[in-house]
Amino acid sequence: MAVTSLNLTNVTKVFPRKGRSAEWRAVENATFSTRPGEFVCILGPSGCGKSTLLNILSGLDEQYEGEASIFGKPVSQQVESGVRVAYIFQEPRLMPWRTVRSNIEFALKTSGFVQSEWAGRIDRVLSLVELSKFADFYPLQLSGGMQQRAAIARAFSIEPEVLLMDEPFSALDELTARRLRQQLLMIWGEFRSTVLFVTHNAFEATFLSDRILMMTRGPAARFCDEVDLSDLQRPRSYEDVRIFETSRNVVQRLIGHIGNLDER
């Protein structure tokens, strides 16, 4: 069997009953795996448990059934196994009391890099996201797009084997988001991390990924379809008509699945 970078086997997540609200079966029997260096998008409607899967893979959520592993090791043993996982959230999640540089230093420190390497790594990732001039700015002095670029820089600074991204561009305006998507692909081309990118935007998923995994709407959301995009050549361009056609196709298939659910 080929090496998998990420692997979920029959993962079910149930949020327990709290107060008056009933228990919520977020995800049911989720199974998928990714190859090292693959860019995979999980596409599904809002509230289908996409973020739940990321939280499980990042180790933030430890209450689930089934198996989750990274490079063959269970998520719970990930720290010891030395596999570096970075997480980019919907919001930048930078510490406002630290400069951009110092925010990245935090990630480098927690990931165990020796201090002599910090400056070099920070300079490299900041130049990749074109923020070199803003290294000593505080996050609140930067625009939303720049803050998210700083978060991307932080993620790549630790040279992650796995990068988890939770709708990182959904809070930005479309033009900024376009630029960041292209930048992301460019940086990913240099690092070749495995990327698991969660989105509800079919075009975004088509433009970015090698493979799209579709999820149905919750409760008990599950994977319902898979689209292979390896025939779309890289580097990709927004002008490419084939990407538009493919993304229309993807939307049709997604509507097909969710529509079926509504009739049920």
């Binding site: 990042s58 180790g59 933030l60 720290v79 996982v85 970075a86 997480y87 959230f89 919001e91 999640r93 510490m95 406002p96 009391w97 630290r98 400069t99 935090f106 990630a107 420190k109 927690t110 990931s111 505080y138 609140l140 002095q141 630790i158 988890l164």
Partner: protein, 324 residues
């Protein structure tokens, strides 16, 4: 306003560079045309020439330096100055309307304060009251920190202590102080405890809400990057708690000072609170206000200079121009 401000500053820069030339010239030109910048950039050559031919006279430059810093100070603190002046003016207004035995004018009070400050009694009162404030504030701060943190972190503690806090908060501080005097006795220990207890519930609520407001998204971020528990507390939680701590300290100090005065008035025979009560009984409002004024200055110094400086140092990262 800002243009005039920068004009004066550029003028000052220009003046610094050419101490031997006519001192009023650049100021006037800068104020008149705002063209001080151009002038300032062209001066260095002439400055060095002036310095090599004749060294500047020390006394005159010192005097002009003082004038310059005074000018900067006045332009930058115009609003504060205006505020203080209007407050004193209002006091004068009240003094003209009311009889002098009830509301003596500021200069009369200042005069009384000046003569009091020559005596030893007022300083011993200040040190006694100051000591009580320090003790009461420390007790209140420590207890509130522990209780507030417990309530912010633990749901059980929150449920349990909520009732206590609300009860203490609603109970009049007068009743609390009298009860403590009855239990502990009419002594200094009771005075300090009595001043601390009414402050505790208010500070506790402050800290409790602050701890609850810690951004869990940042904690998740730190966990996702495999931060240890210690790293999370030091790098994520502590910096978020710091502003609450400083705000609570400022607030708590102000409250403790009022409570100590109250406690002294009720059951002590020394300290500023007792002295104020004493002069009140003698219908000597001048001395009452003089004592209050002295402590106002002391507390203002601690509050604005010390804690204000700490706050500015700690929170440089905050954008300063956020105004509604």
């Amino acid at each position: 306003m800002p243009t005039a401000n920068t004009a004066i500053k550029t003028a000052i820069v220009a003046r610094d560079r050419e101490p031997m030339l006519s001192p009023a010239g650049p100021v006037l030109s800068a104020l008149a045309g705002g063209g001080g910048n151009a002038k300032a950039t062209t001066t260095p050559a002439s400055t060095t020439a002036a310095f090599t031919t004749a060294p500047p006279r020390v006394t005159s430059t010192d005097l002009s330096r003082f004038k310059q810093s005074l000018e900067i100070f006045l332009t930058e603190n115009a609003i504060t100055l205006l505020s203080v002046l209007s407050l004193v003016g209002l006091w004068y207004l009240a003094a003209t309307v009311l009889p002098p035995s009830i509301m003596p004018a500021p200069h009369v009070v200042a005069d009384i304060l000046w003569t009091q400050m020559q005596t030893e009694q007022i300083w011993s009162d200040v040190s006694i009251t100051g000591g009580r404030i320090a003790a009461a504030f420390s007790i209140a701060m420590v207890v509130s920190l522990i209780v507030g943190f417990a309530m912010g972190i633990s749901k059980v503690a929150e449920r349990f202590l909520d009732v206590w806090v609300v009860c203490l908060l609603t109970m009049p501080s007068l009743v609390m102080i009298l009860t403590i005097y009855m239990i502990v006795g009419l002594n200094d220990r009771a005075a300090v405890i009595g001043a601390a207890v009414p402050v505790i519930p208010i500070l506790t609520i402050n800290i409790w809400q602050g701890v609850k407001g810690v951004d869990y998204k940042l904690i998740d971020m730190a966990k996702a990057y495999h931060a240890t528990r210690g790293q999370i507390i030091r790098s994520i939680i502590a910096p978020q708690i710091a502003p609450i701590m400083v705000a609570s300290a400022r607030f708590g100090l102000g409250l403790a000072w009022k409570m100590v005065l109250f406690v002294e008035l009720l059951g002590r025979s020394d300290g500023i609170g007792y002295r104020i009560e004493f002069y009140y009984q003698m219908f000597n409002m001048g001395a009452v206000l003089a004592h209050a004024l002295l402590f106002l200055f002391i507390m203002l110094f601690i509050e604005v200079v010390l804690l204000g400086m700490l706050e500015r140092r700690l929170f440089r990262w905050r954008p300063t121009q956020r105004r509604l």
